[in-house]
Symmetry: C2
Subunit: 296 residues, 2 copies
């Protein structure tokens, strides 16, 4: 029997725990955590993600602010306007943490935007100070998706310690920070981590060595049954929109794992949707709560 790792239920449980803590904060006369999000333009995925974040804030009892800037090819947003808003949020004592939803329109330098955010309010964990502190194992805001995966493993009593973890995909928001987290010393880590990518020859030979296999390259259905060992734990980070005429939206989300054929071989697997996705948003909520606590 394959255990289905239910990220949706786990995320709901964590949000309920956060809401309790927020209620306790209120009762103690402490401020309610406040997350702000900046959204530039009208990227479809970004609209959905930001809406989910605002909803999660409500569920957690947080205050949330959504700041929208229009930007089109004809009337591109002046990057200076965005930078001024970031400076304002850095200085705003009521805001505990904030994010700038990525991707940004091409004419804006994303890295400059990330580095303009006060690391103490950088609840996405993308600022080099947080990335660097994570790498050396110091307290920091962990990037949301890797932190969500680590928490999911923890809640399902799947210890990575002494296990071989193979991560396919070396992005700055998933593969690299997850590798950094899982190779640290201590509980919830201590794994032997391998990072694979487009330049890895004989990929299936490497992925078959995984006790815990993480698929994070954004190629729907790429991980097939022959690439997975019997009894492995499979974490699917992929969330690609594929056309689906049977859906009202016209698309559905598909993971990087050929779920139907891979799942029967696994000890445990995350579905898409309802696996890693909800945990990513919950990590952002946990970071925001932490940011508020840091400022008490």
């Amino acid at each position: 029997m394959t255990a289905i790792i239910d990220g949706k239920a786990t995320a709901a449980a964590i949000k309920a725990e956060i809401a309790e803590k927020v209620a306790a904060r209120k009762a103690a006369g402490l401020k309610v955590p406040h997350l702000a999000a900046i959204l530039v333009g009208h990227d479809g995925g970004s609209e959905t993600y930001v809406a989910s974040k605002v909803k999660a804030c409500e569920e957690c009892g947080f205050k949330s602010s959504l700041i929208r800037f229009e930007s089109t090819d004809e009337a591109p947003l002046d990057p200076a306007v965005l930078m001024a808003e970031i400076a304002r949020l850095n200085a705003d004592d009521d805001v505990d943490g904030f994010i700038v939803q990525l991707p940004l329109p091409r004419h804006i330098d994303e890295q400059a935007v990330i580095e303009a955010i006060d690391p103490a309010k950088d609840v996405d964990g993308f600022h080099p100070v947080n990335v660097g502190r994570q790498s050396v194992g110091l307290p920091c805001f962990h990037s949301a998706t890797p932190a969500g995966i680590v928490e999911l493993l923890r809640r399902y009593n799947i210890s990575p310690a002494g296990r071989r973890v193979v991560i396919v995909g070396r992005s700055n928001i998933v593969g690299k920070p997850l590798a950094a987290m899982l190779m640290q010393k201590g509980e919830g880590a201590d794994a032997t981590v391998t990072v694979c990518h487009s330049h890895t020859p004989e990929l299936a030979r490497v992925t078959r060595q995984a006790d815990i296999l993480v698929a994070a390259m954004g190629r729907p259905g790429f991980i097939t049954a022959d690439m997975v060992s019997e009894g492995a734990v499979v974490i699917d980070v992929g969330t690609t929109r594929v056309p689906d005429a049977t859906r009202k939206s016209g698309f559905r989300l598909r993971g990087d794992v050929d779920y139907e054929n891979v799942a029967p071989k696994c000890a445990a697997i995350t579905p898409v949707p309802g696996g890693v996705g909800p945990m990513t948003i919950v990590s952002l909520m946990l970071n925001t709560l932490q940011a508020a606590q840091n400022r008490d």
Copy 2:
């Protein structure tokens, strides 16, 4: 035949190249790079390292400054004095880069010291801003030992691209930053990287998968012939002082690799001493030159 990777000769060649660049800078009316080093107390290893760095500065035509603070159990250095000196060096326009030689006496918070250094002068590459920028693949000061290894491979035309690199040891100054460098996209990287450590079961099974094996755990002679595949490239980062009555100093340096038995199996191997060690110092020189160029 096993190729001996001669770090000493390579380092000498690079220092000569740097010296030429410094001469050209002088001729162009630009300032001579200036590296300052702070040494606290009288740790034997630290004295040796700092002396080597001062000597390397001379060979490169750099200006160097050595700032010493006494610290004993009876009269420990006030950390505030050290912090004030760091602030002075941050502000000193003549100093392009500086290092605080580690380890520091136990009563001083090393991480606080590291974070007090201006990232733009942090030529050891230990500040979280540099660690984080390295992790995401942005220009930064790379930590010296990993940068020295990458440069050594490059000069010996050993491309890590598409090769399996296994790093044994997950320290913040070697294992982790080397993994970060070698898993990046682009030339001199693109490797499939695995990081092993004390919690890795069946270590020999993992190390035998290495096309390039990096030993960086500080356990003399730990990597034995049965742990290495025929034809592998072996990089030995270990430099442990072991007692040796036949030496005037009373000790000799020993690597993490059982060189005598491992070398015959290898395509190429670094000796200890004369392998990675000299390249570490040369990386610091390259970072200092870069720091000076950044400030032109």
